[in-house]
Symmetry: C2
Subunit: 357 residues, 2 copies
Amino acid sequence: MTEPLPQGATIGILGGGQLGRMLAVAAARLGYRSHVYEPAPDCPASHVAARTTTAPYEDAAALARFAASVDVVTYEFENVPAEALDAIEARVPIRPNRRALAVSQDRLSEKEFLSGLGLPTAPFAPVATAGELAAALAEIGMPAILKTRRLGYDGKGQARIAGPRDTEPAFTAMAGAPAILEGFVEFSREISVIAARGLSGEVAAYDPGENLHEGGILRTTRVPAELPPEHRTAAVLMAGRILNALDYVGVIGVELFVTRHGLVVNEFAPRVHNSGHWTQNGCAIDQFEQHIRAIAGWPLGDGSRYADVTMENLIGDDIARLPAIAREPGASIHLYGKAEARAGRKMGHVNRAMPRR
Amino acid sequence: MTEPLPQGATIGILGGGQLGRMLAVAAARLGYRSHVYEPAPDCPASHVAARTTTAPYEDAAALARFAASVDVVTYEFENVPAEALDAIEARVPIRPNRRALAVSQDRLSEKEFLSGLGLPTAPFAPVATAGELAAALAEIGMPAILKTRRLGYDGKGQARIAGPRDTEPAFTAMAGAPAILEGFVEFSREISVIAARGLSGEVAAYDPGENLHEGGILRTTRVPAELPPEHRTAAVLMAGRILNALDYVGVIGVELFVTRHGLVVNEFAPRVHNSGHWTQNGCAIDQFEQHIRAIAGWPLGDGSRYADVTMENLIGDDIARLPAIAREPGASIHLYGKAEARAGRKMGHVNRAMPRR
């Protein structure tokens, strides 16, 4: 057994958005301070952190000072530049580790890693040139989706290829960035598993949630997912294999498709995940605390589900519905402290819980 | 209907202990910033507040700056000096209002207020001199408890008088401070009601909890309390009468004794209350958010209880039991970020929840 970080230790968090904000609150609940590192001023996490550094990820001196002031570093997003991590890792552990980050930062590495573990994924092929795209399409077929290998999220950096006339625009849309072609997976549902691995190697998973996307953005997550028990077990085991293979420490979000032929892994995020927000009002220990427990060397907490929950993201103007939501019995509101409601911007979420059926 | 405070507004909190800390977290959850005012450096609330002022309550200039930077002021303790409130109230509303504070700051005013409402209290009499003490004892009888009228908490500033030989030491223990003699109430249980009143006058109450004290400090609160239904209703109605009589806005904690002759009001605290911490893991909206909702002009939230909960305070060395508690299923830990574990110091609490029977 490793000793947990002592009371009063400081958790460094790269990224100051809503995930960093909710991680900082969970850290406080376990007696830790948070130091948030974020390029943008007045970020949501800064409102609940003991300390905030506002500096770009290219500022080596600021990163070194940040690393020297904390006991462990974690992150709320997977696109942290590698150079920033180099500066930090020389001084303090990064959890989850760099391999998890590297694998998930690149859709091709991610798919190769997953299929290397024997987990079912969509068919895929790397695409750097128009010729490679033609060859990949010949192999995988249409419809297919061309995606940049890096830096895509919420549906950005993606182009669907339904027929031959989509090919050239799709390739052009990648703007020369290395890409990956993925075969289209016919699925009935999208689910995700939020799982965790502790410093001592123990693994825990929350009940899978069922996700509904709109315009590439998560709209709702519902637990329990409509899922036969064997799929539930399979999903959790898949998440466990990913965690163990990466010698992972922290919470992971694994997205899966439910198909006629079983589960297919879509992707994973090496961090707390929007589809795990329901745990705040459905479990004794939510995903944010579970993550802090893991990276701080605590035993993992009880993630068993006591309620049926639907999490709804409040996106852009959804925030105008607050007065009505505030009156709903069983509705718990979680806002992110963002000043301006822009279209597509996640402003908060609401968890609607009722006793387990 | 009043418009609620807009997103991004700032809640001023007087006092930076654990109650202020948990209020600040709740404020953030509703999209507000917190500005904490606290004389002691590195206070627990400062770790989760957007801003902290470290200054004494006698610093009029600091108080004026604080008041000018916030949209509403609340407090985590009832002994805020009146002069500090004067400086603030000239600029910004204080919720709960000053009358609630004034009444509860003085045990004599409090008892007079309660009995003026027709609520049953222990027999009481003011004691300023040894002669008044003798007269009061003659009227009320023994055993009785002599208490300073102001500034007592967690059993401090109190002396029990069981027989004639206790009289002089008890009077001496008051050190010349104005006091109140209270008759001893023979009770089978101590309960408390956490209730709230919104800006528009609506009232809500949580299920009464049953409290166990040790050495004058709250040890555990358990919901549901072992209480016949009529007592449950009576307790909630009493809290409602207090709230309405004070034109109160915010959360109140009302402590009651269960006696053979019915309920007796012991005292109330014009703030969130240690005996309401169980709501964090038993209700969709906990007492901290309920308080922020009330003072920010939101509708009150759903405080119905979904679990049976026992809240245990972690006092002083109790913190050493953390590793074992961290492994308990259903146990939610809440730590206050206090560096040093001193005897009698509240370091955190743990809520143990299980499905409602």
